[in-house]
């Protein structure tokens, strides 16, 4: 028995990969979404958008691309849906060259679905926040018009009546970033300087260090990875891709937990076997 269990410690890792792929493939056929309870991070994010009164526009920085699509696309889609439902005008901007390539087709689809019109309900100014981020975001907080220059259609933002008076960080109702990690410069140049609230959607890997900012109130809300996307989607009464994604995530996590337990049992058995052989 011990010998059999000891084999678990030396299991070829490729079996684990195969098992993980199998679990993910099977989970893709399960259509029933997992029900989740909204965490305080998601609630803060949801409430910040819910509180908007439409008097000032929202700044939405969308930086997700092929590397973060799994976690961030659902966050982005649900944020845009929420803004559209609230009839809240917003400006899309990006801090990565690939960002607009990913959000533009998504925006066309969502605008069509909600009957929203480019230029009237939202505009996109594309990739205008290159590295180093602190310098770009400071420039954005000082002068939106000079930082954006032109939108996707080559028009100056000031040509849109609802953006004519948007100049500094004071003129935004809310700043949102959907990025692999948070962009803390928004705390300095938007929240601290102008009291413009800041919320963010981030990958789970970057979330741990952000909780102190959430507790101190400098970040009003946060969507953490695919869990945040699923919670937010359900908070808006939908059960779509983001909620279904949680089934795959949970199944994968369960398998990893099982593998950890099996590996530990294997190591334990290996140790016992070595001891008993030493006694002989």
């Amino acid at each position: 028995m011990l010998q059999r269990l000891a084999k678990l410690a030396d299991l070829d890792r490729r079996w684990l990969y195969l098992g993980l792929l199998a679990v993910i493939v099977v989970s893709s056929f399960l259509r029933a979404p997992l029900m989740v309870r909204m965490g305080r991070e998601t609630k803060g994010y949801y409430d910040a958008i819910e509180r908007l009164d439409g008097r000032k526009p929202v700044l939405l920085e969308s930086d997700w691309d092929m590397g973060t699509i799994g976690e961030l696309r659902a966050q982005f889609v649900n944020t845009v849906k929420h803004l559209f439902r609230k009839n809240q005008r917003f400006v899309l901007i990006s801090g990565t060259a690939l960002g607009p390539r990913f959000y533009r087709p998504m925006m066309q689809e969502l605008a069509k679905q909600y009957g929203k019109e480019y230029g009237h309900d939202w505009i996109s100014v594309g990739f205008k926040l290159p590295d180093p981020k602190p310098i770009s975001i400071e420039a954005l907080s000082r002068s939106f018009q000079k930082t954006a220059v032109v939108d996707d259609y080559g028009k100056k933002p000031s040509e849109y009546s609802w953006l004519r008076n948007v100049k500094t960080a004071d003129d935004w109702a809310l700043a949102i970033t959907i990025n692999y990690q948070e962009i803390r410069e928004y705390i300095t140049y938007f929240y601290y300087s102008s009291r413009t609230p800041y919320i963010c959607g981030i990958a789970a890997i970057s979330s741990t260090t952000l909780y102190p900012f959430l507790s101190s109130g400098t970040i009003k809300g946060m969507l953490v990875g695919s869990r945040g996307g699923g919670e937010y989607e359900q908070a808006m009464g939908d059960k779509g891709y983001a909620s279904r994604f949680l089934v795959g995530q949970t199944a994968g996590h369960l398998l990893i937990l099982l593998a950890i337990v099996a590996g530990n049992i294997g190591q334990f058995a290996k140790g016992r076997l070595a001891k008993s052989e030493a006694k002989k």
């Binding site: 607009p100 180093p132 032109v150 996590h253």
Partner: protein, 221 residues
């Protein structure tokens, strides 16, 4: 077959080629890896020119040249000269040019970091001063709030003690508190690692679902 469908075929091939590394190192994986890197670099360069440099630098500079705006011409020319200084890196004699602009960027970065640290970290320090006894409105004792705050304070103090290197921790009390600090740090690292797994798994799930749903799903439907 539409153009989109061809794109999906290429995408599915690349996903499977990249995942083939899980079996073992192979040429198919290398091809897909180089394709991804080449496309990303090429696309980033093109997008930087079209979306950033063209509207924010070239167009205003050309406009300034056209209208004879001396200020605009000097501004655009200086930006070009400073930008070109970065390429001094590739010439031994011109390396100082790169250091010149690097100095400007580092100086600006250091100045901003000072302000950023103050504005970002100070509110966190201020909210760390929590009372272990939480009294809500109407003089009602909040048990869970008190437990939360007490745990927070224990973790905060013990971790601070762990990083107390001024003198040797000989006292058993100090050593015990320090060990507790290490425990809390381990909890933090565990959370960090758990979140890392969550992110990596999300990337895998999205791609596998793409192959299963969008690619094979459409093929067999």
């Amino acid at each position: 077959m539409t153009f989109d469908r061809v794109g999906e075929w290429i995408a599915a091939f690349c996903v499977l080629a990249i995942l083939s590394l899980l079996w073992k190192e192979n040429r198919l994986y290398r091809i897909a890896e180089h394709l991804l890197l080449g496309l990303t670099v090429g696309f980033t360069a093109a997008a930087t020119w079209v979306e950033l440099l063209q509207p924010r630098w070239l167009a205003p500079w050309r406009e300034a040249i056209g209208s004879g705006d001396i200020g605009g011409i000097i501004f655009g020319g200086s930006a070009l000269a400073l930008g070109l200084c970065w390429y001094g890196l590739y010439f031994k004699k011109g390396e100082w040019l790169m250091r010149l602009v690097l100095g400007v960027v580092l100086g600006a970065g250091a100045g901003q970091a000072l302000r950023n640290n103050f504005t970002q970290q100070m509110p966190i320090v201020a909210t760390s001063f929590k009372s272990p006894i939480v009294i809500q409105e109407g003089a009602r004792f909040d048990l869970w709030g008190s437990i939360n705050n007490s745990l927070f304070l224990v973790a905060l103090i013990s971790v601070l003690v762990y990083f107390f290197f001024i003198f040797e921790q000989r006292s058993p009390i100090m050593r015990g508190v320090s060990r507790m600090g290490r425990f809390w740090l381990m909890v933090g690292f565990g959370v960090y690692f758990g979140n890392t797994i969550m992110t990596r798994l999300s990337v895998l799930i999205e791609r596998v679902w793409f192959v299963v749903d969008d690619f094979f799903g459409k093929m067999f439907s």
